[in-house]
Structures are given as structure tokens and as C-alpha cells.
């Protein structure tokens, strides 16, 4: 069919799963909202297609020493309020985030030592140690750049203070952010007249909204609503591997799961495809290991673990585990589907003679116990690429002996060695290979049961054109997004 012409007066409504709650502090997740809204931009940008970091507000960068990176800023970029985006503005923005009491995950004093202006168009970023991932960090939304006027005494005021294709003009507290086209956008014409980001935290409501046409794009559709949306011809459903894997964390530090045989047995007992097809409505792929298959560092040879009850029973026997009391599976309430997942696991454990109870608790309530190693199993999921499109932070924090977030309490010297090499490896291919080897070790040790790789699902109304799904949920309103009449 011939493409209909985009309507230059059209505005697009995006139902976003996240509401800004930190007064637009850029070190918080609020930065994502501004980025989705096409307001906030960063020096560099991670391109999902080419899987590389590309220029955005900076035209180029170079590493002048192991720890020093010089960013050449794009010329003639104006903030929406008319002031010039120069090195001063950029350093001020970045330093503001670095000074935060609760700093961002990717951009904080531990990863960045200082940011200074070399001249009007050059910014130097100094890292405490060699960090090949710095451009990735500069692509994280937390490193966004706002006009100096945005930084007020009472907090951040994003209205008309960004560089992006859309300028926020008004906000209804707790409800929505309205944006108008930035006529002066540095990267060319903006197709939409404006847009609205609606904060709708209920997943089912987001799905309904795109169905009823109240929203043009609904982000992060819950799996439970997938079938209904797919049945709707007015809506196209976009899916991509998200960097999240639902995982049954096993406590490797105490009995019974300090025994690798038992951990393997547990892995073999679970029917992951069935789980993915049921609770996740087919909106998730059975996991092959710690990484999603589409990630460049995933081991393509790993397959989905096969259910093998006989073998699993043997392994249970080999482990010598005699069950005295039922094991406990904690399902965190933050993720509604885990209650169902827990119920399925409970059933399937029965087949290999393991008794387990599911308890649901809020993550906050169990966190101290889990971190202290006082639990059996917990159902949770972690983002491998928090803020930067690289899993190193995750691999280090979650699985290394000293990892700050090592829920499984796993410790393997070989693994730690690989991670330490990766940390300073400048060559991307080699680094990815190191990640793969690390992942293989985790899989071999059956540290956890990686259940399913979640999909990022966006529902998009049929009138929307030029929408490119970003599984890292950073870019939605772009200059190329359009809507037909």
C-alpha cells in the first residue's frame, strides 16, 4: 500500500511505564523520561542497530591518555531556550550529576574523576582508572545535558531547557508531560508537532490505552496483555530482547544449593519453554544461560536446558541431599508474574521429589536477608545493561566474589580473573569474548536457573510511522517519528 503522508500537525501520545518522581534529577531514573520525551540528549548515543556508540552532542572523542577522554562538541547547537550549548554548559551538567548525594549508576565519582572544559568546544573527562567503556557512560541518559538555566535552587526545571527535538512545555503532576516540536533542532526537521508522555504505571492500563487509541505508543506492555494486543489489527506489537533475564537465584553459599549437583538437578527439572509460553504468554524466550542469545557476547552454542526428570533425580541422589523441611522460594511482589512462576516451579520441583513453598514478599523486605545469604531461592530479575549497553557492571557486581550485588553468593577465582581482564580491555571483540567465557563458567556451575529472557514489548498504533523500538527504553519521541492523519 502506498505510504500515507505524515501529518505535520500531529502529536503523539506515549504511555510510559515510569513516572518521574525525583523532580527530574538527572542522576535518577527521571532522566529516562526526559530522554524518551525527545528532550534530553547526551554527548554520545548507543545505536541499537550497529551496536556501537555514536556521536550525538559531541561530534567526536579521543582518548588522550589512559584515563583522559576529550569530547569535541557539536557546534551551533542551541538549547531550546536559545542559549548556546558549549563546554561550560556540558561540564556544569555533568558535574551536577557527579555531585549528587545518591549518584547515578553509570556516571558517578567512582567512574568519573572529573569533567572540565578544555576550550569552548572541548570537554575533558577524566576517569580514576583506565575505562574503555567511558563513551558508553557518556551515552547513558544520566549524562544528559541541560541548559544552565535548568539548574535552579529548587531542583531541575526541564521546561524548554533541552537540546532535543522536543521541548517540554507543561507538566501535569503525576500524569503527563506535554512537549512541542523544537523548531531549531540541530539535527534537522522534526516531523511531529509535539507529543505527550503519559505516566501510566499499571501495565494493563497501558495496554488498554493503546487499544482504545488514547495512546499511540504504549511502552513495556505486560506479557499478560500481549495476546489481546496481537489480536488487534490496529496495533503493531514490537518485541525485542530486553537485557533482563528472569532468574531463580540459588543461594550458593549454604546448603543445599552449595552443591552443584543439586543446582544442576534443579535446572533440569524446570520446563522453561512451557513457562515462557504460559506465564509469559510467549512474550519471553526460554533462557539459554546468563545472556540473551541476541547479545554479541552470548555463547551461540548454549541451548535451552532440556527437562530430564530421570537424570535430575539421579543428581539429587548424587548430591546426597535429604530434605527435612520444604525449601523456600521467595517471589518478589514487584513483579506480579513471579507468583505464577513460583507456583509452576513448585509443581515441577515435586516431580524430582523436592518440596518447596512459595512466599511472596516485597523486594525491600527481603533484601537484607538475601544480601546476607539467609535464603534458599529467590525469583528476581536484573538488568544486565544498567544505563550502559555493556554487561560489565552486572557481571562484576552480581557474580564476582566481592560483587556488591552477588545475590547468589557465588565465588569463583577463574571467573573473577576473566572479569578483571575485561575491565581494561580496550578491544571490543576481545572484551565480548571474555564476557562469553565468563558466562560459560556461570552456566557450567549452574549458579542460578536462568528462566526466561524477557522481551521488551511496545504496542504501536497503526498511524504511527518511523518508530524504532529501543529495548533500553531511551528513545521514543525522535525527529523521525511521525503520525499520519
Amino acid at each position: 500500500a502506498p505510504e500515507k503522508a505524515a501529518d505535520p500537525e500531529a502529536r503523539v501520545v506515549v504511555a510510559n511505564f515510569r513516572a518521574p518522581i525525583s523532580n527530574w534529577a538527572l542522576e535518577s531514573d527521571d532522566a529516562y523520561v526526559l530522554s524518551i520525551a525527545g528532550c534530553l540528549e547526551t554527548l554520545a548515543k548507543y545505536d541499537q542497530g550497529t551496536k556501537t556508540v555514536e556521536p550525538m552532542l559531541a561530534t567526536s572523542w579521543k582518548q588522550s591518555s589512559d584515563t583522559e577522554w576529550d569530547f569535541e562538541l557539536r557546534k551551533n547547537v542551541e538549547f531550546q531556550d536559545g542559549t548556546i550549548m558549549d563546554a561550560k554548559a556540558v561540564t556544569a551538567s555533568l558535574n551536577h550529576v557527579l555531585k549528587a548525594t545518591a549518584p547515578a549508576r553509570a556516571v558517578n565519582p567512582k567512574t568519573i574523576k572529573k569533567v572540565e572544559a578544555l576550550d569552548a568546544d572541548t570537554v575533558r573527562v577524566t576517569t580514576p582508572a583506565a575505562d574503555p567503556l567511558l563513551p558508553y557512560r557518556m551515552a547513558s541518559v544520566n549524562a544528559g545535558v541541560l541548559s544552565p538555566a535548568a539548574y535552579t535552587e529548587t531542583g531541575i526545571d526541564p521546561m524548554n531547557h533541552c537540546t532535543g527535538p522536543f521541548a517540554p512545555v507543561s507538566e501535569k503532576a503525576g500524569q503527563s508531560l506535554t512537549l512541542d516540536r523544537n523548531e531549531n533542532y540541530w539535527d534537522g526537521d522534526v516531523k511531529l508537532a509535539g507529543g505527550e508522555i503519559r505516566y501510566i504505571t499499571e501495565g494493563a492500563t497501558r495496554a488498554t490505552q493503546v487499544q482504545t487509541g488514547e495512546a499511540d505508543i504504549s511502552m513495556s506492555i505486560p506479557a499478560t496483555s500481549l495476546a489481546a494486543l496481537e489480536a488487534d489489527k490496529q496495533i503493531s506489537v514490537l518485541k525485542a530482547d530486553s537485557p533482563r533475564t528472569s532468574t531463580l537465584y540459588l543461594n550458593n553459599s549454604r546448603a543445599p544449593f552449595d552443591n552443584v549437583d543439586l543446582r544442576k538437578a534443579v535446572t533440569m527439572a524446570l520446563d522453561l519453554p512451557a513457562m515462557a509460553a504460559s506465564v509469559y504468554e510467549g512474550a519471553a524466550q526460554p533462557a539459554t544461560g546468563p545472556f540473551a542469545p541476541s547479545e554479541p557476547w552470548a555463547n551461540p552454542d548454549l541451548g535451552v536446558p532440556q527437562v530430564n526428570i530421570e537424570e535430575a533425580k539421579k543428581l539429587v541422589e548424587a548430591s546426597g541431599y535429604k530434605q527435612e523441611k520444604p525449601l523456600e522460594i521467595i517471589a518478589i511482589t514487584e513483579r506480579a508474574e513471579f507468583a505464577g512462576v513460583g507456583a509452576i516451579i513448585q509443581e515441577q520441583f515435586k516431580q524430582i521429589g523436592l518440596k518447596a513453598n512459595v512466599v511472596t514478599k516485597s523486594y525491600g523486605a527481603v533484601e537484607p536477608d538475601v544480601l546476607a545469604g539467609k535464603y534458599d531461592m529467590i525469583l528476581s530479575q536484573r538488568n544486565r545493561m544498567i544505563d550502559i549497553a555493556d554487561p560489565i557492571g552486572f557481571l562484576q557486581a552480581d557474580y564476582s566474589c566481592e560483587g556488591g550485588y552477588n545475590l547468589s553468593h557465588y565465588c569463583n577465582k577463574d571467573y573473577d580473573e576473566l572479569i578483571n581482564q575485561a575491565l581494561v580491555e580496550k578491544d571490543e571483540a576481545k572484551r565480548h569474548d571474555l564476557y562469553r567465557q565468563a558466562g560459560d563458567i556461570l552456566a557450567e556451575d549452574a549458579v542460578n536457573v536462568w528462566l526466561v529472557n524477557e522481551q521488551a514489548i511496545d504496542g504501536v498504533g497503526s498511524k504511527v510511522q518511523g518508530y524504532v523500538q529501543d529495548p533500553l527504553t531511551r528513545y521514543v519521541l525522535t525527529k523521525d517519528l511521525a503520525k499520519i492523519k
Partner: protein, 317 residues
């Protein structure tokens, strides 16, 4: 009791209510499991893996590691100077979050009550004047059915019907009058029941009262007597109920606010407690309690002032 004494009593009661309720909210993080500071950080950043230093720094910023009573005292001190403090999550004044929410809630509660009052006056008067006949029986059954409806089952079904199937109404949000239709309808069901019954019994009583008989004897027609003498009297019990329901609706519409994504007071308090943003929860509860006590108090007072019997001090019984 003189009106002044009533007012004084209410004011003292209000003070105690505010103090008690804010303290109760304040206790939550101290009694719930988990580290409250980490919970706050998690709310700011989806997956928090804050290290100890960050936690310390953050706690430091808001004085969260001080002894409990010190913290509460500090809150109280600020509160009496008219400052509800800063949100622990956004760091902005609590008032900035509470005031828009109370606006939303007031309009939601106001709309709900308005609808409920109008509907129930009609239903109540019809039912009272047709007592025992089919319209009365129908209305009475309706009122009993309305209170038994779980709104959390009805709301999704109505959304399915009116938003998804027929695309008549928005499914959620709070921007257009249309978006208020479903929430108001659902919230109004229960007050309609109670109000209708109150109007019905008030009107019935007025119908039986001698002054209505006398008005008829004076030559007033049935309808005129109804409009001039029966209904105004019959509505007296309604106003007390309205006050009570208003108080209840201020913070009690959490379910509907959640289902319809309405950024109201109930939701604000609910989320704030869940996220551990205690100053916001405290501020919200204080405002809700104050509004509720004020409204019931004012209605009570108006009631006392306008009721000739009470005003003159005629003995009852």
C-alpha cells in the same frame, strides 16, 4: 453546648488527630523490614545497588539515621512553622506533591458526591412517595445491590465495555470530563445507596409529620407541599452523611485511583507509604485528616446552627 465550645472541641480534636495520624505514618519505616534508605534509593533508581557510602550520604542528607523521636520532633517543629518538609525521594517540598493531589481528589470527591446527591434525591423522593410500590421496591433493591458490588471487579469490566469494546470513554487518566465518568460512577455507587436510603427515610418522616399535613390543609397541592415542606426536611439527614462520605472519599478512593491512573490523594499516600517516602505520606495524611475533620466539623456546626431545635436548646426526648 454552645457553638464556640463545639468549635474549640473540634479544634483540639483536630490537633490530636493530626498528631496521632502523622506519628502513625511516621512509624512505618521503623517497623517494617528492610532498610528504609535503600528503599528510597530504589524508588529513585529502579534497580538500586547503592553501596554503603551512598546509603550513608543519602541518610545524612535527610537525617534518616537520627533516633526516631529526634526525627519526629524535627518534623513537628517544621510542621508548626507551616513546612511539611521535603520528599525523601524527589527532595522537593511535600506541599508541591500534596497540593495538586488534593486538588484532584477534591474534584473527584466533589463530583462523586454531587452525582450521588442528585441521583439519591431523585431516587429517595420517588421511593418515599411510592413507598411499598414497585418503584420503591426496585430502588431499594438497587441500593442494596450497589453496596455489595466490589468496585475492583466492576471497574475493569466497565473499562472493557466502555473503553475497549465501544470506545466511548477513556480507559484511564484524569484530563477530560469524559475521563471522570467511569471513576465517578463507580465511586458514587455506594454513597448513592446510603444517601438514597437517608433521603427516603427523611422524606418518609417528613411526609408523616404534622406540619406537612397542616400545609396540605392550608390548600397546598401535593407537589408543592412535597417541594416546600417535605423534601427540604427529608434532606436534613443527607447533609450529615455527605460530610462523612466526603471525609471517607478524600483518602479512600485508592482502588479507583489506581485502576484509572488518577493522581489523587489516596494514590499519593498509598505510593508514598509503599515507597517509604514518609514526609509525603505524612503530609498527605495530615491534609486528608484535616480536611475530613474540618468538613465534618463544619457540617456539624451548620447543622447545629440551622436546626431550630438544637439552636434554641429545646430538650429532646
Amino acid at each position: 453546648m454552645s457553638p464556640l465550645a463545639t468549635v474549640l472541641r473540634r479544634v483540639v480534636g483536630l490537633g490530636a488527630a493530626v498528631l496521632l495520624s502523622s506519628f502513625a505514618v511516621f512509624l512505618v519505616p521503623f517497623v517494617s523490614p528492610g532498610d528504609p534508605v535503600r528503599a528510597l534509593l530504589r524508588a529513585r533508581m529502579d534497580i538500586g545497588e547503592a553501596d554503603e557510602a551512598t546509603v550513608q550520604a543519602y541518610a545524612e542528607q535527610f537525617g534518616l539515621h537520627d533516633p526516631m523521636l529526634v526525627q519526629f520532633g524535627r518534623w513537628l517543629g517544621r510542621f508548626f512553622t507551616g513546612d511539611m518538609g521535603l520528599s525523601h525521594i524527589s527532595g522537593t517540598p511535600v506541599a508541591d506533591q500534596v497540593l495538586p493531589a488534593i486538588g484532584v481528589t477534591l474534584s473527584l470527591a466533589g463530583g462523586t458526591l454531587l452525582v450521588a446527591i442528585l441521583v439519591s434525591i431523585v431516587l429517595g423522593v420517588v421511593s418515599a412517595t411510592r413507598a411499598g410500590q414497585w418503584p420503591d421496591r426496585l430502588i431499594t433493591s438497587m441500593t442494596h445491590a450497589f453496596i455489595a458490588i466490589p468496585e475492583y471487579a466492576l471497574a475493569p469490566l466497565l473499562v472493557l465495555l466502555f473503553a475497549v469494546r465501544f470506545s466511548l470513554l477513556p480507559s484511564a487518566g484524569y484530563d477530560s470530563p469524559a475521563s471522570l465518568v467511569l471513576p465517578v460512577f463507580i465511586l458514587a455507587l455506594r454513597p448513592i445507596s446510603f444517601f438514597t436510603v437517608a433521603v427516603r427515610s427523611g422524606v418518609r418522616q417528613a411526609l408523616d409529620s404534622e406540619h406537612v399535613l397542616a400545609a396540605r390543609a392550608r390548600g397546598l397541592g401535593r407537589t408543592q407541599a412535597l417541594m416546600r415542606h417535605v423534601v427540604p426536611h427529608g434532606l436534613l439527614p443527607l447533609w450529615t452523611m455527605v460530610g462523612v462520605w466526603f471525609a471517607g472519599l478524600l483518602g479512600g478512593s485508592v482502588i479507583v485511583e489506581v485502576i484509572f491512573a488518577i493522581p489523587g490523594m489516596g494514590r499519593l499516600i498509598f505510593d508514598a507509604i509503599i515507597n517509604g517516602d514518609i514526609p509525603v505520606a505524612q503530609g498527605g495524611v495530615v491534609v486528608v485528616v484535616t480536611c475530613a475533620v474540618l468538613v465534618t466539623g463544619i457540617i456539624d456546626l451548620v447543622h447545629k446552627l440551622s436546626d431550630p431545635n438544637v439552636r434554641i436548646g429545646v430538650r429532646h426526648g
